[in-house]
Structure formats: C-alpha cells, structure tokens
C-alpha cells in the first residue's frame, strides 16, 4: 500500500505540468491547478513515505522494460527516509512559487517552470524507488535534465545560461560515471538488479572499484569538495524555490546513491570509512561560503559544508562498522541521516527566505541590502531561525545532528590505539566549521536584515505575501520541533539504519546511545529561560523608560524607550553607507585563510596628499572551476588549435578527406600479406623450429 501511494504521488507530480500546458500562459488558474496537483502528490507521497518507514520492504511492482528484461521498483525504509524531504520541500516550494513567480507576471517561463518542477520531483521519487539500474538511471536523468531546464529558466541572462551549461556538463559526467559503475556491477553480479544477494561473492578489488565510481558519480551530484564546481552558480541562478529543492533535496540524491551502493557491497574495509571521513572533513572546512557577496551563492556554497558534515557522519559509521563498534556505527549513521533531513529543512528555509528578499529588492548582492528586519519582519525572523539552525546551535535541529557526529567522534576514543583517535581529530575540525558557520550567518543576517538600508531597493522593500511566508514558517516550525523533541525521530532513524544494515546483525537502538532526551530538555529549558528573561526585561525597560521620557517620544517608540541615532563616537551625521559591510565583516577570516581563498585584488595603497578616486571590487574565484578546470580546458583548447588546419569548413577539402580515406580503406584489401608472405613464412619456420 505505501508503495502504491508513492507511485501515485510521483505520477501526479509528473503530470502536474499538464494544466499549465493546456491553459493560457497568463492564467492564474493554470498555475493553481499545477500547484494543487503537486500539493496532492506531496500529501500522498508523505503519507506513503511515512508508512513505508515502518512497514516491511516490498518489491511489489515490476516496471516492464521490453529491451532488457523487467526492472523492479520497491520501497524500503531507506528510500522512504529520502522520499520525505522530496515531497515535503517539493510541496512547500510549489506553494511558495504561487507568490514568488505568479503566472500573470511570468508568461515566458511559467509553463516550463510548472512542467519541469513536477518532473524533477517525479524523477527523484523514481530513482528512490528503483531497484534496478535502468529505472534508477531513468529517474536520475529525469532529475538531471529537469534541473538543467529549471536552472536555465531565465535564459535571457548570461549568468543563467552559462551556469546551466556547466551544470549540464557536470550532471552528464556524473551519469557517465554511473553507467560505468552499473556496468561493473553487472559484470560482477550478473544482473542489473540492485540486490544484496548478488554481491555476496564480490572480490574486494571489484567492490572497491564500484565504491570509488559511486563516490565519484554520486559525489558530483552531492557536491563533495573538489566536485562541487558546478553547484554555486547553478543554485544561485535558479528561481529560489527551485534552488531550495536543488540544494535541499537534489544534493541528497547523491548521498542516497552512495548509501544505497554501500548497503549492497559486502565487507567494507576501514580505509573506505577513513576516505569518506577525510572527504567530509575537507568539504566541511571549505571556507568559500564566507567570502561570497551574493546571498544565494553563499547559501549554495554552504551546502558543500553541510554535505561534508553528512559525510563525516557516514565516515564514522563505516569506521565503527569495520572496527566492530556497533554503537559508533549507529551514532555515525544516525548523524548522517538526521543531517540529511535537517539540512533539507534549514537550507530550503534559507533559500526560500533569500527568495523573499530577492523578490522584494530585486538584488542578490548582500552589500546592497540592510535593515530588512523592519520592512520584512516575518522573512527576517524566519531567516534568523534558519541561520541559528544551520550553525548547529541549540535549541534547533542542527545541534542534534552535530551532537551525534561529535558523540561518534568522541566515542572512538574509548578504544585503544591510534586509528580511531586520529579520526577523532575531526572533532576540532567540526568545531572550526561551526565557528565559521556562525561567522558566515551572522554576516548574512547582520548585513541583510539588521542595521539600516544600504540602497533604495532595500529601503522600499515590502513583506512577501502569505503564500510565501507560510511555507517558510512551516519549515521553521519543523526545525524547532526536531530541536526541541529529537526523541521523536528515534524510531524513524532506527528503522532506516536497520534497513541499511540488512537483516544479518542486529544493531542497538539510537535511544540508548545518544542523550536525545537531555538534549531536548536542555533546548526547552533554553527557550523557556530566554522567554522568561525577555518578558522580565521588556517589562523592566518599559516601566523605567516611561518614567523618564516625555510623551511625544513614547508615542513614537515601540518599546516606549527613547530612540536616538546610533552613537558613532561623536560623529553627528552617520549614514547607512558607514555601516560595516558584509565584505568588511568577513575580511578578518578571509585574511586568515587568504593562502587558500586568494581573494583578488588587494586594495591599492593610497598615495600622495591628493589621491585620485579609487574603486575596489573584491572577489573570490571558485576554487575548482575558475582555477583548475577553466585554465585546464583553455590549455586543451590551445593545444588543439593545430587541428584547425585540417578543419577549415571547405566542402572540397572534406571531399578530399573522404577520397583519401576510401583509398586507405581500399589499400587494406590489397593482399599485402602476399607481398610479405615470404618473410612471414621464414619467420614462422624459424619460430617453429626453435622449440
């Protein structure tokens, strides 16, 4: 039954573009009908996924595939676990789209958006359900191609076009690697079915090959550190609710792929765990987010760090499994899974919040914003909730998953020997990641929502409609729920872990290993105490403020305390341009990491008594795309220019080539062997005589 629900939901989602195609472009009803279909699909899909989390895995349905035999689809706890964010964020994002890009205002892009948004959701659902390579790749390509069309939606913009092509190249590289992986799988197991039974007798070398190809192919999609190059541009260029889906959910399909393939492979050696942990730690410590000036690019870069945290959890789990420490395995795996959910919640929240800002101000440049907390109070408050959550701070959900990662890392210390103790060195790395995240999000919150407006657009911003605020609020509520009552998720995580682990060996429940009750209680205590303190002090401030202040000022000030300009060390006329910008805020840390970030250019020294006007524009290049790939490709292009000699666009020349090729081919028919026959028989005779 759960499987049928999810299949129905994916079909509904895939069909959700039809009303938009059938009705006029500007009709709001077309958009509403599409959104209604997606919302219905989400409801059905969520119901199916939650039911699937707790029911027996079923391989009920067969996808008939005439050419190469049938392909199975099925639903187990691991699939269900990843289906939840697909349908949750998919549904909320569609509702958000009603206000963000109304059909009446976007006649050019409305249809494409509706069609490919639905296909993106359906493609992800299909790949999660797939139990065979072909169904999986079908879902994977549907997802990748819909992503391409959604990223390039605003194709009148140069930036949008170029990043969608970079995305397309990366997506197909990833698919190519996956083809290789599935072929290797087929060669090793004799079937394209993704079943554990086939892989039992696999040699370590083949398993290692499959693992590395999976890490490469799925890592390209997940955005693991050196493979993330396509990600920031693509996620920044897409419409914000699509960015939320891409960053919050599509990246997790890469994680799912890695998890699924690992679950099939037998006997995982410790080295794989160590590799995953190191990759995770380097991705997490990828400070590029901090140096960004573009609101959505910053959020996109921050996904790389969070994927790193997810991989750290997985690395601990694999290390624990190979060391025979089941509690480490459970903690690490729970951290990995929980952070998948958490990241999909708060990253979608932040992207939707950013979209609300972009819609109101028309700019993504953080240094042109400011003071939006007053004009857009709801967006600001919800964005701050998301920021606290993504920094992993109590009392919200990010803290719970990071706590599990730390517990896993510290748990390795209980064993003698240097191996797991070295792995525990990832704990200070994670602490630094946390501190950098705080810096990064204080910068965003401070520069965009606090202080005063830095530009006219920011000054004239208005709050977004309820259709945009309600989805953001729902995500914030879920962040708070997981933070305050993490215990609720224990059965969900236990079930998914058991599913991954297979039926062979039992694993302990997460409930006995992690202090989730205490963490939840501490979070609640924090909220209650902060509430009490805020209540007491707001009363205190008001009462005393009233006594001393004249009536006129009190009527103006909302807190009944006098309002004055910010004290600027005696300077009488501070302006909003004198505020600390986000670039200056980040400069200290960017300076500390300048050996790696290499910001360009350094400001020129001002010389002379009457210096000329100076401009300064600082930028941090994308590490891989701009510094490795583009130069390498340019070099390749230069090296291959000599080939242009042969390719000059003259039809006669090409005819000549054909003629030459024909002559060469005919030459092969000449019995050249006959000419050499003498020599050959002589050589043959010599060889025959020697033994």
């Amino acid at each position: 039954m759960p499987l049928e629900l999810v299949v129905a939901a994916s079909l509904l989602a895939a069909a959700s573009g039809l009303p938009a195609l059938a009705l006029p472009r500007r009709s709001p009803w077309a958009q509403r009908a599409s959104v209604l279909l997606i919302v219905l699909a989400s409801a059905a899909g969520l119901a199916g996924a939650f039911a699937g989390l707790f029911s027996v895995p079923s391989d009920a349905l067969i996808l008939p595939w005439p050419a190469i035999g049938d392909s199975f689809i099925g639903l187990d706890s691991l699939s269900s676990f990843f289906l939840v964010p697909v349908f949750l964020v998919g549904g909320l994002g569609a509702v958000y789209g009603l206000g963000y890009s109304p059909a009446a205002g976007n006649p050019r892009t409305g249809r494409r958006l509706a069609v490919f948004y639905g296909l993106l959701v359906a493609g992800m659902a299909l790949l999660l359900l797939a139990r065979g390579a072909f169904a999986f790749l079908l879902g994977w390509e549907t997802m990748a191609l819909s992503g391409f069309f959604l990223i390039g939606l605003e194709d009148q913009k140069n930036e949008s076009r170029s990043s969608s092509f970079v995305y397309l190249v990366a997506a197909h590289l990833s698919t190519l690697v996956l083809f290789g992986m599935f072929l290797l799988w087929r060669a090793a197991t004799g079937s394209f079915d993704l079943e554990r039974s086939g892989a039992a007798a696999m040699s370590l070398g083949v398993a290692g090959g499959i693992f590395l190809l999976a890490l490469l192919g799925f890592g390209l999609k997940a955005g693991i550190m050196p493979l993330h190059f396509w990600l920031p541009g693509a996620h920044a260029a897409a419409p914000s609710h699509v960015s939320a889906l891409l960053s919050g959910v599509v990246l997790k399909m890469g994680v799912y792929g890695i998890l699924r393939m690992l679950s099939l492979l037998p006997g995982i050696p410790a080295a794989w765990g160590a590799l995953v942990l190191v990759l995770g730690a380097t991705s997490a410590l990828f400070v590029f987010a901090l140096a960004q000036h573009d609101l959505k690019k910053l959020l996109a870069y921050h996904s790389v760090e969070n994927i790193g945290i997810i991989l750290m959890g997985l690395g601990i789990a694999l290390l624990g499994r190979s060391a025979g420490m089941s509690e480490l395995f459970v903690l690490g795996f729970a951290a990995c899974l929980l952070h998948v959910w958490n990241h999909s919640l708060f990253k979608s929240l932040l992207f939707l919040g950013a979209g609300s800002v972009v819609r109101a101000t028309g700019t993504r440049a953080i240094d042109r914003l400011g003071g939006l907390g007053k004009t857009m109070p709801w967006t600001a408050a919800l964005f701050i909730v998301g920021a606290v959550a993504i920094c992993g701070l109590p009392p919200l959900n990010g803290f719970v998953s990071e706590l599990l990662v730390y517990l896993g890392l510290f748990g390795g210390l209980a064993r003698d020997g240097a191996g797991l103790a070295l792995a525990a060195m990832a704990a200070p790395v994670l602490a630094m990641v946390g501190a950098l995240a705080v810096a990064c999000f204080v910068k965003v919150v401070g520069a965009a929502f606090l202080g005063s407006a830095r530009s006219r657009e920011a000054e004239e911003a208005t709050e977004s409609p309820a259709s945009m605020i309600v989805p953001i609020g729902a995500l914030a509520a879920l962040c708070a729920l997981i933070g305050l009552a993490p215990r609720l998720l224990v059965p969900v995580l236990d079930s998914a872990i058991a599913c991954w682990n297979g039926t062979g060996t039992g694993v302990p429940s997460l409930a006995g290993l992690a202090p989730l009750d205490q963490a939840g209680l501490a979070a609640m205590a924090l909220v209650v105490m902060a509430g009490i303190a805020a209540f007491l002090f707001s009363r205190g401030i008001r009462a005393r403020g009233e006594a001393k202040v004249s009536r006129g000022i009190r009527a103006r000030g909302e807190a009944k305390a006098p309002l004055r300009p910010t004290w600027d060390c005696g300077y009488a006329a501070p302006t909003s341009r004198m505020q600390y910008t986000s670039s200056s805020f980040a400069r200290g840390i960017v300076g500390m990491f300048s050996w790696f970030l290499r910001p360009s250019p350094e400001p020129r020294r001002i010389q002379g008594y009457f210096p000329e006007a100076e401009t300064l524009h600082s930028e941090v290049d994308e590490a891989i795309l701009d510094r490795v790939l583009r130069p390498a490709l340019r070099l390749l292009e230069r090296l291959s220019t000599w080939f242009h000699r042969f390719q000059q666009g003259l039809a006669q020349q090409y005819l000549l080539y054909m003629l030459l090729a024909l002559i060469v081919l005919i030459c092969t028919l000449v019995p050249a062997g006959g000419l050499l026959g003498l020599a050959k028989s002589a050589a043959g005779g010599a060889a025959g005589a020697s033994p």
Partner: protein, 302 residues
C-alpha cells in the same frame, strides 16, 4: 539537592566579585587605591535600575542579544562541576552543549552589535567571530584529550578525574592543556592580551566595541553575563589545575570560591604586567593555544 542549590547560588552571586578582585589587583599594580571589591555589584544594580536609550536603527535582535547571552552562559554554568561538588546537570555529550551554548551567545551578541549599523560595533563583532574560529577548536582539543584520559563523555567525569589522581604519564599533557585553556579563557572573556576591557578606544576593542550602544538594564545584563562567563570558564581550569579536596563539603565550596578569586587575581596580574597584543598578532596567540591543546591530545594518543 543542597549541592545543586549552592551551585546555582554561586553561579549567580559570585561572578561580579571576580571583576572586583581583578580591579583591585590592577589598581594595586598601578599604585592606586582602586574601587571597592563590591563595586561591580553596585554598578550592575545601578544599571538595572536605569532607563534605556535605543538607537532608532535597532530591532528586536538588539534586545535579544544580551538576554540570549545571559541565558546561554547560565545554562552552560549548570553543566560544569564547581570544585568538588558535581554539576547539577550532567549527561554524556554535555561538553558539546557547553561549547555550543557559547557559540549561541556569540551569534546573538554579534548580531545585536551589527543591528546598530555602526562601523565600530561591526568591527568588534567581526573580530569576535574571527577569533572564535581558532579558540573553539582549541577548546575541543582540550575536551578530546580529557575524554581520552578519562574515557568519559561528560564534563563532570572529565573534570573530576584530576582530583582522583591521574597516571604520571598524563601530567605533561595536562600542563599543556591547562596552558591552552588559560589562553582560551583570556580570549573568550576579552582580557589582555587579547582585548582590553578598560579602554573605550573603540578601534582597539572587541567586546567593548560591540556594546557601545547598549544602555541601562541591557548593559547591566551584559556586564553581569560577562562576569558569569569568566566564572564558568575559570571553574573549567580550576577543576583541572587546582584539584584540591579537603573532604568536607562546605570547606570544599569555600575552597572553590577562593580558587576562583585567586585565578581572577592572576588574570589581574597578567593584565597589569602585559600590554595588549596588536590585533593581527592575536590569531598567533590563539593558534598557539590550538597547538598546545593538539599536542596535549597527541601525547595522550601515541
């Protein structure tokens, strides 16, 4: 129950006295008489009774900053043992909550600073978050080493161990850890050589620059939570470096209070005999703390 009550009372009543001690010691070195020991209590209660002035640029975040900071530090204080008495709240993994509560307080104090839209406060906030990128991993190295040493995951067990007698091989790493921790305390509580709490020259400041626009009760809260943060971090070091026990519960409590005052006096001496480092030198100091913690941990692993 009594233990917990005394713990809470100490946590809430003792802190301003530490500032008084530091002030007295600094006055002694400067050849002045100095403010009375209890001056901080008077300052804070006076500020709590005053009216407030707010900048028109600020929003609710500005007001939330000091409140969240106080609550976070107070909850963190409940997770630590004070001397011989164990912590009121203790569970496996509480050191992570402890560290992240400080991060929570940093998030809101720096956001509140940015809310004023003043360049000075932005500058202070930027420095605060930058230096935390080094001091926070250093703190985690200390936790890792203690966890390795005691095979436990809760602060009460980790910090109680040094009283129970540790193997001789643990002494050298412990010295390194204590040194690292002392630097972390100086950095986190904004004392010389990292920050100078005495001047109001904004360009050189971290903490003082961030609170330029706070006034009245909120300023009082900030001063109070700064002193409480000092007490909490001091008690971390005291449990490690001065694990003296007398056997009697009340004597131990008095001993702990005395030790916090002695440590405060040490900080006062440090502040009197040293100059503040140049801002660009501070990361080197913190990297030093990071390396001390890391070396301590690696010595334990071997």
């Amino acid at each position: 129950m009594l233990d917990a009550l005394v713990h809470v009372l100490m946590l809430f009543l003792l802190p301003p006295l530490l500032f008084g001690v530091i002030g007295k010691v600094k006055a002694f070195f400067a050849g002045r008489k100095g403010p009375p020991l209890l001056q901080s209590y008077r300052d804070i209660s006076k500020l709590l009774g005053k009216g407030s002035v707010f900048s028109g640029t600020t929003s609710w975040v500005f007001r939330a900053g000091p409140i969240v900071a106080l609550v976070a530090v107070a909850v963190a204080g409940l997770l630590l043992p004070f001397g011989a008495s164990s912590a009121p709240v203790s569970f496996a993994g509480d050191m992570i909550l402890f560290a992240y509560l400080f991060a929570l307080s940093r998030f809101f104090t720096t956001a509140a600073a940015l809310d004023t839209g003043s360049a000075f406060e932005g500058m202070g906030a930027a420095r605060e978050v930058a230096f935390a990128c080094l001091s926070e991993p250093a703190l985690f190295f200390v936790f890792l080493a203690l966890s390795k040493l005691t095979r436990s995951l809760s602060l009460s067990d980790m910090l109680g161990a040094s009283a129970g007698g540790l193997p001789a091989a643990a002494m050298a790493p412990l010295v390194l850890l204590c040194l690292g921790l002392f630097v972390i305390i100086l950095a986190e509580t904004c004392r010389i050589p990292v920050d100078d709490p005495a001047t109001h020259l904004e360009l050189t400041m971290i903490h003082e620059a961030m609170i330029l626009d706070h006034s009245g009760p909120l300023l009082g809260l900030i001063e109070y939570s700064a002193s409480m943060k000092l007490l909490v971090l001091e008690s971390l070091l005291i449990s490690l470096a001065l694990p003296f026990r007398s056997g009697s519960a009340w004597l131990d409590r008095g001993l702990f209070a005395a030790e916090t005052l002695v440590l405060a006096a040490c900080i006062g001496v440090m502040e009197s005999v040293m100059a503040r480092l140049r801002m660009r030198r501070v990361p080197y100091l913190l990297t030093g703390a990071l390396l001390l913690g890391g070396s301590g941990f690696i010595l334990l692993v071997r």
